[in-house]
Point group: C2
Chain length 283, copies 2
């Protein structure tokens, strides 16, 4: 997905927020913002928001000397989601359509996104909403068909905490799943440690993609991951960053997310809060 | 008031918004944002947000070739406020404390602020809220004493539409009022034409301050205005921009505003939506 003019303001806001998460004082915040203002003035044409994000947050990690500014926030999100695990599991078990319910729960978990805001709708309230909401984009039937034929699934994770919601979906899929996390800390995106905290190792084979982008940019990922990506018959790609990088990655990729920013709203023609289950366009 | 780190993101957002109001296409928006990013990188120490705003919006006017990007929006705001004039007038007339009610209405009108967002709380809902809300900063008694002794009042306007609420307060003051508008279009701040649309010429002597800042920066104002400013026994200064430039302008200045941004929230220790009637600190 392209870099819209609204993205500039969002990245400046993200810089300040991330710098605070990294523990930077006001003077260092000013310095960091100035670095990012310079970076934003020299964007290559056609760059996507997650490519900009890795540069922005790379600067923040470097200048703050903090390798994982969102570490504490991520743990809090994972713990908050784990506290709901049993109740969500019960919802799925008593559902007449466990897969449909688990897909919706997985999308509900995408509300956790500290790149958008440090505050989000109460998790259980989101669950209640997403369970009954109409899909804004609904390729669920195509995904179900693809899943039936697939011998395994590659699952691209997004944010820490959302991981717990992903775990519930994986438990319903009832086939081998490879769960990929980011290769390096970026925003509140899940890395290996966060996936382990969510208990994903109990239900999937874990791999990191080797990259530091809040999305999946294959040219930056490690060969081992790219091989798994290429071999996967079905890919479930969670969240906005994966949508921004894989929206035209072809029909084996299914993006599951909520619409949380005006740029996605415009790009997708769906309203804020809309729930999306979208098969990617042909490459 | 100083330029906080949060102000960077706000100015980038304002740039995009103002460029759209000015009718700029996406390519020109990118160009303009790049100009503003450069400007934000080279801020002089101690600069205030309204000083930055005049530079930012000067660039927008220049590159968009549109001398008043918010013209249409301003007229809409004035008309929306005028539609409530009779009902608000009636509220004041039946109030046991007309001055107190009119002061609150004037603060209610400060909800109209397109620098913050193109959308604001419904005007009448704001009136209902502000009429009963406790002041977050309450120097009303000191202002009343000052008004009793004053032979005239200088009233520094803020936004178009808010002008109508100001008119209602001026009608209650029952003494000569000089109402000052900005000298050039900046954001949705009222200029002479907007004050006339609001009917302020019926209740006050109108003057423009000669400057293009969304606040009152005396060093940029024309000598005639500075003379009036210096001679005024009491000054009512409306809105965030006037607060940001006159918060320490001395005890004859009273700032009336609503808290609408996190920077003001922090600077003032008042919550969002808080209503402020504050005597300025000593110079």
């Amino acid at each position: 997905m392209k870099f819209y003019t609204d993205c500039y303001a969002c990245f400046v806001r993200q810089t300040i927020n991330a710098a605070r998460h990294a523990g930077c004082g006001e003077e260092l915040q000013h310095t960091l913002i100035n670095k990012v203002l310079g970076l934003l003035q020299s964007l290559e044409p056609g760059i996507t928001p997650p490519e900009v994000a890795r540069k922005v947050h790379g600067l923040i990690r470097q200048f703050s000397n903090n390798p994982d500014p969102y570490k504490q926030a991520k743990t809090q999100c994972t713990q908050a989601a784990l506290a709901l695990y049993d109740d969500m599991k019960a919802l799925i078990q008593k559902s007449p359509d466990p897969l449909g319910t688990a897909l919706r729960l997985s999308i509900a978990g995408n509300i956790i996104d500290l790149g958008i805001s440090d505050e989000h709708e109460d998790l259980w309230h989101t669950v209640d909403r997403v369970l009954v909401q109409d899909y804004a984009v609904d390729h669920e039937a195509i995904l179900r068909q693809a899943l039936e034929k697939a011998d395994h699934v590659l699952y691209l994770g997004d944010n820490a905490g959302e991981t717990v919601f992903d775990r519930l979906l994986i438990e319903v899929l009832d086939k081998p799943v490879i769960y990929a996390v980011r290769g390096m800390p970026i925003l509140n995106d899940a890395v290996m440690e966060d996936a382990l905290e969510a208990g994903l190792d109990k239900v999937a084979t874990l791999i990191d993609n080797g990259a530091d982008a809040p999305g999946t940019i294959l040219s930056l990922c490690k060969p081992e991951f790219v091989e798994i990506y290429n071999a996967a018959p079905v890919i479930i790609a969670k969240g906005q960053g994966n949508y921004e990088t894989l929206n035209d990655a072809g029909p084996k990729v299914f993006c599951l997310l909520q619409v949380k920013c005006p740029v996605i709203e415009r790009d997708m023609g769906a309203s804020m809060g809309g729930i999306i289950l979208r098969q990617s366009s042909p490459q």
